[in-house]
């Protein structure tokens, strides 16, 4: 069936089957390779994208049910501060989980980070990282929080 969805702000028409996963449509149909598959079962967060502004596991989302999606490619500019913070804080090593971490981080920053660090860690516990041990990611989010226009200082 033919569907239209808004991907990173652009309205796109694409042919999809009822059981096409959003992850596969993004990667294989639209060439947006930044979103990664690490488990394919919604257990690790590497495939995180924003659907309707909410972070979801794109490997478990049926593309036919999606109207509006933002991927790591589309968030490149909005996430600039966060991305630089990732670089400064040693928040990535192999980089495979990083797109998912960044996308999830953007959603968190839009909502405002929890004040408590343990609460913040719970908010990113859906994104497994095997390389960094998470300290750098938490630090990066805090750095980015302070750099956001209009953020609490």
């Amino acid at each position: 069936m033919r569907a239209t969805l808004t991907v990173n702000g652009r309205l796109i028409g694409v042919v999809i089957e009822p059981d096409d996963r959003l992850l596969d449509v993004l990667r294989d149909r639209l060439g947006l390779l930044g979103t990664k598959q690490a488990c394919g079962r919604g257990e690790c967060g590497a495939c995180t994208v924003l659907v309707g502004g909410r972070p979801v596991m794109s490997c478990l989302v049926l593309a036919a049910r999606v109207d509006h999606v933002e991927t790591i490619e589309g968030l490149r500019d909005e996430a600039r501060g966060l991305r630089e913070a990732f670089a400064d804080a040693g928040a990535f090593q192999c980089g495979f989980c990083t797109p998912g971490q960044i996308v999830r981080g953007v959603a968190l920053l839009r909502d405002g980070l929890p004040a408590d660090d343990q609460a913040l860690r719970r908010e990113i516990s859906g994104n497994i990282c095997r390389c960094t041990g998470y300290s750098g990611i938490v630090r990066a989010l805090r750095l980015a929080e302070h750099d956001r226009p209009g953020s609490r200082r």
Partner: protein, 1116 residues
Amino acid sequence: MTLGRPTRSIEWDARTSGASRYVADVVLPGTLVARVLRSPHPHARILSIDVQATGRMPGVAAVLTAADLPDRLYKHEGGRLSDRRPLARDVVRFVGEEVAVVAAETVAQAAAALGVIRVRYQPLPAVTTVAAALANGAARLHDRASGANVSLVIDRAYGDVEAGRRAAAVTATGRYRFGRQAHACMEPNGTLARWDPRTSRLELWTSTQSPYFVREEVARILGLDLGQVIVREVAVGGGFGSKSKITDHEVLAGALAVRTGRPVRLVLSREEEFATTKCRHDFDVELTTGMNGDGQLTHREARILVDNGAYNHSGASVTGAAVAAVASWYRTRGGVHVRATLVDTNKHPGGQFRGYGHPQIAFAIESQMDELADARGLDPIDFRILNAHRPGDVTQAGWRLHSAQLVECLEAVRDAIGWREKRARRGSGRGVGAAVAMHVSGARTYEDANRAEATIDVRADGEVRVRFGGADPGTGQKTVIAQVAAEELGVALSRITVVTMDSDETPFDLGSWSSRGTVMSAHAVGTAARSAARRLRELAADKLGVPVEHVSLRDGHAVAGDLRIAIEDLVTGLGGELSVTEAAVVDTELVNFATGVADISPAYAFAAHAVEVEVDRATGEVHVLDVVAAHDCGAAINPTAVESQIVGGVVMGLGAALGEQLLYEAGRLVNPAYLHYALPRAADVPPIRTMLLGHPDPHSPYGVKGVGEISMVPVAPAVANAVAHAVGVRIRELPITPDKVLGALRARDGRRRRYHVWRRPGRWWIGSMRWAYPRGVHALLNRWGTRPASAAPPTPIASLERPTAVAEAVDALGRDREAAPVGGGTDLLPLIEQGLGRPRTLVDLGGVAELARIRETDAGDLQVGVGVTLADLARWPRVDPVLRRVVTSIASPQIREMATVGGNLCQAKRCWFYRNGFPCYKRSGATAPCYAVLGDNRYYHAVLGAHRCQAVTPSDLATALVALDATIQIAGRAGERVLPVARLYSGPGETTLRAGEIVTRVVVPAAARHRVSAFEKIRLWEGDFAVVSACASLDIADGVVRDARVVLGAVAPTPYRARAVERHLLRRRLDPDTIAAAAEAWVGAAHPLAGNEWKVDAACGLLQRCLDACRVSHGA
């Protein structure tokens, strides 16, 4: 300049914007997808393989079996140790071994083709544990010279052990077990291969730490010249050893590419990653350590059993490394004797894994150090300092310690953790523990391992390029390389381009393993860059007419006094490019397999870690409060990267210490999924404090020592030592999960529960079946009563209906027997993939607006539509705090944004046998066994009320809603009905919904909402399903309980209403004594399995915590 300063990875922009290209991201037109057919048996003869039917399958381009490949073995460690083929020929030796491989146009077509390959196996007796493999008359996997199922024995004595024994005033002896873990890298193993028939060259884009070995093995096995196999550069998503040297897919992808003439991509699924790839070697260590009257170590004796798995891979080398480490740990005055046996078992092989035998032996040695210190009342850190190596020492294994700051590391962590003050609080439930490690910085286990080359290109267009043959799987080599080149050439870091891995473009290097990455790459690049710098200075001297000694390189220019010339302008005369290649060698000895004594590394790193834990004596949970990691890693070229490596290694160590384990049932992996594997998530670990102490090592280039592996090594014993300090029990088998802690406490305190099954006729049948299972019933049902799992892939979903009203939805479901409702899809889609559902039509409830409503009635009831997502429920302004608490403990933020209330309540059981394809009673029918009776049932199975199935209802919401007297509304063709939530369940994750019915709304009555409620949950990792959960909802007036609901989750097939507990609370004051007694009142109904009796104690402890929370809440 950047050396020694925190520096951003030169790839930061690509890594953080999704622009890095990993194997799955490389796009070549016409690429085929490959899938592997794997053995379902742990040990079997292959009688025949019939691939004929694949010829008729759509989209299939090629099928290969062993007969299609040259009859060659992987070299791995060479010689007699080579024992494995890329595809099994005649015999399979582990569940998951590669038998055939298919290339097709699409994933679905490849999977379908696998389904029609007919393999006839003759199962052979299998030995899936070391004990079974060494038993008399055990089936043999290979023809080994060292004995039946013994691949290798290393029996070494260093120094004078007998003198050591005589000098010992105290000895400690113990047995320590360190099981298998998975690397679980985020990027699965994979290769994209392309064969060019015109040039006869095979290109490989492969996720590897060491292109050199991939190239060598692929060429050898496929009968190509080395020059015909070209590895290309890709981003590599993690290694930790799993991608160190050849793995199991590169040859297969290459062979298919040659056969089909088209690019072929073979990427492993996550399940294959867990179940079939190399893993940590399981070590069983019997250790004795002696100490003299002055506290000095006198001797060490170790008997080690290493579980090889079915093939050698790196088993011999890991064993050898471990032996050398046992001999090297601490100054040991007398001697060390180690006997290590590498034992074949019918499981997927062990392989290279961060630490390489050291984590396993460190767990034994460092645990025993504390036991020894304890025997004499010595402070564990003082004891270690006394015996620590000093600079200038040579270890028993011949390691020359040019620098050694272990003492400084120990002193640093002692201060940082607050050791003195905290050690005084022994037995309080909070404890501190410490441990040390030492590690090579690249071991010379191959002739050329001490050599690496690098090429520097300075181009007229301004580009300065470094070319290096190793790979960077996240360890940061590319940035180190750029930093070193920038430093030596006097250019800005931003001007440097780094090319790695590519066989055409880069010179010799063996790759990133053994913590050699920075040492070797910095050395090689530094050497080449200095050589290029010298050449540039010569060219400048010539051009500027000055002596070369007056020329320096700065800011991209050659400078002599007031004269300067851009370096790119110096090379125009050279055809536009200056290209310099140099080889660099570090001064080390080649490993000596005969004696085990050789100075194999240019420098040896040291580390000390201290950990503070809090142990909950009621539930066995261990919480890590603080970790300090002090490292002597020499100079740090990029402190950002070094600290990140340390923290990552510590967290991986915490995972091994507290949760990670690969569990097997008759050789088959039970838990091949992140969901069932307790590696740490962000909320499971505290911030890790790192201290880099090292001064530059005088013997190592740039003064650098390795850090990639050592950071993992001390963690597990530090945790075990802290637990012992906190509660006085010593756990000697990893991981330290709550069952072990409670079991140890119970054994020490002599507590035993009795369940009096003989007095409960309703449990006699179950009791006798459980008795009979290990006595033949399980074997019988398993052999004769199971149907093999269907090999056919899931049927595609034909249509997605999108009703906008409940009536429409019910209608759609009623019309089509093969229709299923879908909420968030977070359970349905995995179920389909797991072969547990084959709907042809999905009825999407997401568009039914009335199902997504939350409201409070005027009476104060809470009405929640089943389509409300968990996240929306938690965010609703007037949601009850207890419901928010339950919801935010579920899964992950992303899943909560998708999953619905209805979906959570109706989700299927999560038993790992059921989900991961074991042909159990619930999957395979009434003649099949329940694997949880004899299999690993410690965490997720019932302790009460189970019959043939031991699983539990996984929904945490169900537990709480039952306690809150919630009802659920159901709509169907026949109309609407209402049930108490408790009556929604007929069995574990099984509902009483009739065909065509859907749940529509949950209602929590106002009366319940006015009660004081609390929810508590024990889980192995943040977001995990409950191991035990408890929800108490009490009506308390003036401290007296007027009404009570107490529900336990994850202890019974359905949420368990603990009425005995409720009765005990009624009309009593809610004080600690009442709570303690009430929490035990339900125990008489329990009937635990062999492995989960501890959950009865844990549930009592959790109930206490929950009731106490109510008490505090009420008081507040």
